[in-house]
């Protein structure tokens, strides 16, 4: 029987290794898999490459990983937000590598990984510093920059409901990067508010089919 439900947050992140590339869902404070990230913090993994839109705020979740020196590199679009003190501190000290990517490109690069594509040309950023060192090609009279797929070893995301097959539905704008990250990682781990029985999710409304999901853990919030 297919059953992707695991009993604890610790179990859900137990085998994530040092040096892993970890995709972390969320935009601002919406859709962050806070409990999973804290489980990862407790688990002790180091030298992580984080892929996430923002670089954390305050002392929680992503910011806590930065504070505890667990992150070698961060790939994101908007690291500098109100309260991104730990990121800024690590960045100024030269203790963390930053790869800045336009937000749409960040998402699209993960999609390309999930879709088995070798990369794509986008006009976003093609006229900018962010295209430096990358292939630029004029297509239909417009400059495009070549962007490579971005694979994760692990994705940590948050959804609203899951069944034992790992089918997911989300909640309002907390959906954000979750569905794409789920496709792009070798191991996709999801925290959900509640489990439901198989068949209870409307097949027309499932956002992430279980094929993209490896583990789901219920956190009740």
């Amino acid at each position: 029987m297919i059953d992707k439900r695991v009993g604890s947050l610790a179990e859900a992140v137990a085998d994530i290794e040092d040096g892993a590339t970890v995709l972390v869902g969320g935009f601002g404070n919406s859709g962050i898999p806070v409990e999973l990230v804290h489980a990862l913090l407790d688990q002790g993994t180091r030298d992580l490459v984080l892929v996430t839109n923002n670089a954390g705020s305050g002392d929680s979740d992503v910011a806590a990983l930065l504070r505890e020196h667990r992150v070698r590199k961060i790939i994101c679009s908007y690291p500098r937000t109100t309260g991104s003190i730990w990121f800024e501190e690590r960045y100024r000290a030269g203790e963390i590598e930053l790869e800045l990517v336009p937000q749409g490109t960040l998402s699209e690069r993960m999609r390309a990984a999930g879709a088995g594509l070798g990369g794509f040309f986008t006009p976003a950023g093609a006229d900018s510093l962010l295209a430096e060192g990358k292939e630029v090609r004029v297509i239909n009279g417009r400059r495009h920059v070549f962007e490579e797929p971005l694979h994760g070893d692990v994705a940590l995301i948050k959804a609203r409901r899951a069944d034992r097959w790992g089918n997911l539905v989300y909640s309002t704008a907390a959906r954000n990067f979750g569905p794409t990250m789920a496709t792009a990682a070798a191991l996709t781990v999801v925290q959900v508010r509640e489990f439901v029985g198989l068949g209870e999710l409307d097949p027309e409304c499932i956002v992430t089919p279980g094929i993209f999901v490896d583990r789901v853990v219920e956190v009740g919030v």
């Binding site: 601002g28 859709g31 679009s77 336009p102 976003a124 900018s128 704008a173 569905p179």
Partner: protein, 225 residues
């Protein structure tokens, strides 16, 4: 700075007049957000937010609303009837793919050829951040810039060429400031409207690039825009 000028509300109102009913609109963070507050209620506008919302409504009443239903500026919002949620990659399809009719963006600098610089300055040591600015600038059908005419210390922001890092080249269609409404055309910058009481020469003086004036320049009266 002294002299005649539009208030922020006037500026937002002026931009709002150029947004047609039925448009799909993405408002940038900061000053552009104000535009949503002054659009005529007779217009039906569908607001897009990069984090996966179409049909974004106003902020909820204090203490109400869904804490995860936020806009691109990370502030709580609501959803109007007919609105929908989708994931980030689909959201940026809309932005980059030419599906957003109008975007209103802030800017550090705009060049006379419509180059936009609105993501990074020349500040050293401060970590850069780009967000969705580049996708939106290249993808929206119409890019409107709403900004102050000059920097706080009076240096021009409308220039022959941007000195700050570019967001995107040749994308800006129209510039709205407290002093004027200026179109970016194939023949350079054309002033369409000017705040009442400001001399043309003075506007030119506060502008780094060469201005032309339309045959029928309109006067903008502060408080009556």
């Amino acid at each position: 700075m002294s002299g005649p000028r539009l208030s922020l509300t006037d500026m937002a109102r002026r931009v709002a007049r150029d947004i047609p009913s039925g448009a799909y609109v993405n408002l940038g963070i900061g000053m552009p957000t104000l535009v949503g507050d002054v659009v005529s209620p007779e217009k039906e506008i569908v607001y897009h937010s990069e984090n996966g919302i179409l049909g974004m409504g106003p902020a909820p009443a204090p203490g109400e609303g869904d804490p995860e239903l936020i806009n691109a500026g990370k502030q709580p919002v609501t959803l109007v009837p007919g609105g929908s949620f989708f994931h980030h990659t689909d959201s940026f399809m809309m932005m980059r793919g030419g599906h957003i009719d109008v975007t209103v963006l802030g800017a550090f600098q705009v060049s006379e050829t419509g180059d936009l610089a609105n993501w990074a300055t020349d500040e050293v040591g401060y970590p850069p951040a780009v967000g969705g600015a580049m996708d939106l600038a290249v993808g929206a059908k119409r890019v409107l810039v709403l900004m102050t005419h000059t920097t706080k210390d009076g240096r021009p922001k409308i220039l022959p060429a941007c000195t700050f890092p570019l967001t995107a080249a040749a994308v800006v269609d129209r510039i709205y400031t407290e002093l004027a409404v200026i179109d970016v055309t194939a023949d350079g910058l054309v002033v369409r409207e000017i705040v009442a009481g400001l001399e043309r020469a003075e506007l030119q003086e506060r502008t780094g690039a060469q201005l032309r004036f339309a045959d029928d320049v309109v006067e903008l009266v502060p408080g009556a825009v």
